[in-house]
Structures are given as C-alpha cells and as structure tokens.
Symmetry: C2
Subunit: 365 residues, 2 copies
C-alpha cells in the first residue's frame, strides 16, 4: 500500500480556513485503510512574506518540488498591496508554477444542478454546463523578458511586458487538449488573437499542425479570443475543451467560472509533463477563487472549491477515479440537501459555515 | 453654415450593405438644410487588398487624415485568411487607428429596453444597463516592438509580442475617462493585471496620480482585469466608466457587448487628441460587430450599430447633440414598434431586412 506525500500551502485570507476542511477529508480517507496520505505544511504568499520576507521560502519550494502533489489555498490581500513587486504574494504562486513546470492548467467550468439558479445567466443557458478550459500556465506574458519599468526622465516612465511562445510550449498544451477532449465530447476550441498578435499566428499554426499529427479524430475549431469571450456569454454549451495561452486563459476561465454561478465551487489542477521513467507528473491543485480577505476569519468561507481541488488530486495525481467521483458526489449531495455557505445561499436553503459544510460533505462520504 | 467632410470606408462582408443605410441617413440630414455632410468613399480591408494589394491605399489613408470624420464598416473574412500578415484586412483598421492617433476608444454597452429579453443574462441583471468602456487604442501589445516570429531551427519557432506603455499614454486615456465620468455617473473603474504585468503596475500608478491631480470629484476604483471580467458577468450595473489598455479593452468590451444581448446594435467611437488650435479631434466611428461574412449579401444584416455609430459622430465630432439624440431615439422607436432584423428577432416581433430597418429608422426621424 502506497503512501502519498502532500504539501499543503494554505496561503492567505480564507486559505487556511478552507484548508482545515481538506485536512478533515484527508483524515477521512486515511481512516479507510488502503493508500495513505502524509501531509506537510508550508507558507506561501503574504504569510510567507511576513515570516521570511519572500513569497515562498527556498525550503518550502524544495518541499513542493519533492511532493507528490501540492494542495494550494489562495494568496494576497490588501495588507501586502505595497510590498515590493518581486516578493508580492502572487510571486509565490507564479514561482511554484514556473519551477514545477506546471504548463497545463485545467479549469473545469461546471454548473452544479443545485445552483443553476445562482447564475446571472438564464437557466437554460447554463444548466448542465460542463466545459474544460485548458490554460497554458508557464509561458506568455506572465514570464517573458524583458519585464521592466524604466525611467525615461521628464516625468515619463516606460513599462514593458513580453509575450513569448515557442513551438514546443504550444505543442504540448495542444496535445493535452486533444487528449482531454478524447475523454470528453471530442471537441477542442483554440482561442488566440492571430489577427493582432504574432504569438496568435504561431499558436494557430502549431495547434493546427499538432491536430493533423495524430489527433484528427478530435474536432478542432479556431476562434479569436475576443469572439470567444462573447461566445462564452452567449452560448457556453457550444464548447467542450477550450485551449488558450496564459493571459487569455486567465481572463476566459474567470468569465467561464462566473457564468456557472458557482465560483466558490470551482477547483483547478496544474500539471507538469509525465516523467519518462515513472510516468508521474508534478502537480498543484487550487481553487479558482481568491483569498477573499473581506470574509477571512468569519467562518463563512465556502470550502467546496478547495475540497473539489483535492478530488482533482485524487483523479489526476493518484489515479483514484472512484474515490474522486465519490468525493464529487458527496459535494453534490450536501448541496442537494439544501446546505449552502453564504456566497451561494438562496431562498429555501440552509446557510452553514465553513466547518459545517466540510462536516456535511464528510458525512455524505 | 458649415460643410463637414466624411470619409466612408465600408470594408468587407456586410460593411457595404450597412453603409448604404448610413448614406440614407446622411441624405436625410442634408435635406433638412443647416450644416451639410459631404461624403467621399474608400476601400479598406480585404476589398482594398483585392484592388491594391494592401489593406488600405496611401491615397485613402491621406483622405482619412484629412476628413472631419471617418465612418468605418467592418473588415475581414475567410477569403483573406491566408494573405500575408502585413496586408491582412485588420492591418487597414490598425493603421487608421495608429496613424490618426485615435487613442481613445469609446464602447458604450447599453441595453435597449425593447431587447432586454434577447440577452443570455437574466433580465434584472441587464435591464437599464448603461456602461462605457474606454479602451486605450494606439498602444500596448497591438503595436509594441519586437513583434516577430523567428525560426530557431530544430523545427522550433519563437513568437514575440511586446506590451509597451509610456506614462503619457496612460495619462491621456485616464483623463478622458474622468472627463466622461463627469458627464455620466461620476465613477471610473480602472482594470489591469498589476499582480502579473509591469504595464499593469505603471497603469495603476499613473491612473491614481492623474486622479489626484484635479479629478478627485470622480470616484476611482481599481480592479484586476480577470476579476473585472467576472464582475461584468455577475453584476454589470456596478460600473459606470471602465478604463483599460488595448488588449484588455478588446476582451472586456466584447464581453460587455454580449451581455446586453444587443451586439448588432452597439456603436463605437475612436477619438484623437483635440487640436490645440482648432479644438478638433480626428475621429473614426465603427460598429462593434464584425463583417459577418456568413450573412453578407443576404440583405439580413442589422444596420443599427452602423447608424448608431453615425449618431456618435454627430455627438462627438460635430457637437450636434440634439440631432444625435434624435437619431438614437428614432432607432429606439423603430425597435419599440416591434421591427427586428433577424439577429435580434423574438416571438411577436416583425422580421425585416437591412434596408427596411434603415427606412423605418428614417421614417421615425
Ligand atoms: C493570482 C494571480 C497571479 C493568478 C493569475 O493571474 O494567474 C490568478 O488570477 C489565477 O488565475 O490563478
Ligand atoms: C479587427 C480587430 C483588429 C479589432 C481589434 O482587435 O481591436 C476588433 O476586434 C476590435 O475590437 O475592434
């Protein structure tokens, strides 16, 4: 029986509170016998800055590199709004993504049946929605150099960010998109701005070539990213897998998440390449939502996205598909019973706190 | 009595068809006496490429520079999908924006009462919506250099796009945002990604400084652009004026346009700086929608966004506010009578073609 090593990085704001609920879930799985999970914990974001003056310490980075999976909460908050750029809370997350080479970011946008009414969109538009945004996560304008602010004199400064993509970076995310589409509805929509950006031209070219090279059973469609944003709002069910670069993925996945009305519910997985020897991938799992500093400490945070992120870990890092399905089902059941945290409450439902929601999900397991 | 010179650039796809309706509107205004409009016509986009091998000829560029306003249709279509990058249809539009220095792009997202049901969003979320997206239009990743694709050998290419912003570029669009907000609900939301992009850091800094420098009567709020996309979907009425860079503006204004359910209805204005001597601004007016090649030639295109773009020209280039209001009212009246082009048809309304819709609006004048 295997032991899996998890590094928990709760981070800032509501991060630590929702991580407590994941720990309960982990204990529940450990108590069942079978494979077990060993957890270690570290600091990231503002809390790491407060302790070490950096957004993640070298020691915690080393732990992350060695772990079988990293379970990440959320980072940031007004407290750290004016810390130096290089050590701002987000730098911790960006370093994890880059150093662990987590190039494939999976952001499922699904509409939980019990929450179809919570969306700002009409029910028929989003009911049953199940799309996957696959975002390239280690390239593009997030990491390209130069990335500078220069003083030009005369009261003028010049800021530069650089969007860079190489063929291999686009190819590996395109392959991942086609492979995920095969396990879903067999369709990939690639989004870029080839009419304005050279990286969009190369993106389009490489995705098209990759498709021809062994993936022609999957349907491929190209869409300009601005039109894609529109189409997400107009009729999101037309999509199955959407693949795009780091910045477009950031924007489009947030729009998609909000469509479902289930923002506090949506998990994500960031995966590296499979090790040629062991087949293992480095991986980090985190909720799509942020650190919500305004409600931190009130016990009102919704732990579901965090728990669902652990379900993704079961699925993608530990091949425990049955267990992942079971955990996802437990979440859906708790919702179906009418339990809601404040962010998703509606008439006729029962509002519970973070910890009660965690307990209710475990009770359903 | 003044004569105003308009350059009409119908472009591709449905562009020429909807421009015909604007010409009717212009004739109507000319027939009333008072100031008159003289029109000249040119080619842009694919149609310019077919005639001259470029996306806009030097002659037409010169006419655009000299005109009091340019009225622009739409460009692009599958026919030109594989023409060289430098002469692709969009290059004509981008050159007009850049050479005319049209740095301020106004994209109102309003929900026509008669169309509140056409949106994919719930009626209470979008009914009465009236926001203005102010997009920086001559800087950022659209024009920054280097913008290249390089062959690295080994089957690898590298694509680079460069996002560049100088202080003065941010300052002038921020000023415009505050000034528009004063004529509206007095609130500006500035959107960037300062947590990832240096241009976001500078953007935030300059907008904040500009605000302190004479605009503190306007309420200023900052939002990360991804969160902004979410908030647009969640509760768009929280916004008044949104100001952002070229690429975020492209994405966010398209999402905002689709929220209203009135995409075929939305006009835009692109304005340059006021000439220090004459006070005049270079200006280009165009619908937010594209060239819709799939319906070109069928007589089904919706001419409203194009006509409303001419109303914006009356308002912003010719200080004809009463006339602009009258034209906007005529559009609303034609809709209130139940006339619809196919794209906005719904039960109980009467579907009409491009030319009938144009005539109906003129009848309301
Ligand atoms: C926190 C921030 C750096 C991050 C990003 O921009 O990638 C976040 O918005 C996300 O989408 O995970
Ligand atoms: C046609 C294209 C170059 C253009 C842009 O990206 O700016 C369009 O999408 C727009 O928003 O006006």
């Amino acid at each position: 029986m295997a032991t899996h090593n998890l590094l928990l990085l709760p981070g800032d704001g509501i991060g630590p509170e929702i991580m407590v609920e994941v720990k309960k879930v982990i204990s529940w799985f450990n108590a069942q016998g079978g494979d077990s999970f060993e957890t270690d914990e570290g600091l990231v974001g503002g809390s790491a800055y407060d302790a070490h003056g950096v957004a993640i310490s070298e020691e915690d980075m080393a732990k992350a590199m060695a772990a079988d999976a990293v379970i990440f909460g959320a980072v940031g908050g007004p407290k750290w709004d004016s810390v130096p750029y290089d050590v701002r809370p987000e730098a911790g997350l960006l370093r994890l993504r880059k150093d662990m080479e987590l190039f494939a970011n999976l952001r499922p946008a699904i509409c939980y049946p019990a929450l179809a009414d919570a969306s700002s969109l009409k029910k028929d538009i989003i009911e049953g929605l199940d799309i996957l945004i696959l975002r390239e996560l280690t390239g593009g304008v997030y990491f390209g150099e130069p990335k500078t602010i220069t003083d030009l004199g005369n009261g003028q400064k010049r800021a530069i960010d650089t969007q860079v993509y190489d063929t291999y970076e686009i190819e590996r995310i395109a392959k991942a998109a086609f492979e995920f589409a095969r396990t879903r509805n067999g369709k990939v929509t690639s989004m870029e701005k080839r009419n304005v950006m050279k990286s969009g031209v190369l993106w389009n070219e490489v995705v098209t070539a990759t498709h021809k090279n062994g993936y022609e059973d999957v349907k491929l469609e190209h869409m300009l990213a601005d039109a894609g944003g529109m189409q997400l709002v107009r009729w999101p069910k037309q999509f199955d897998v959407i693949v795009c670069d780091n910045l477009f993925g950031d924007m489009l996945s947030d729009v998609a998440a909000m469509l479902t009305g289930s923002l506090g519910m949506l998990p994500s997985a960031s995966l590296g390449a499979a090790d040629p020897k062991t087949g293992k991938r480095k991986a980090l799992y985190e909720p799509v939502h942020g650190s919500a500093p305004d409600i931190a400490g009130t016990g009102a945070a919704n732990p579901i996205a965090m728990i669902a992120s652990f379900a993704m870990a079961l699925r993608y890092s530990f091949e425990k598909v049955a267990e992942a399905d079971m955990l996802d089902k437990a979440i859906a059941n708790a919702l179906a019973k009418g339990l809601r945290t404040k962010d998703i409450a509606s008439e006729g439902t029962k509002v519970v706190g973070t910890s009660e929601m965690g307990d209710a999900i475990i009770a359903e397991l």
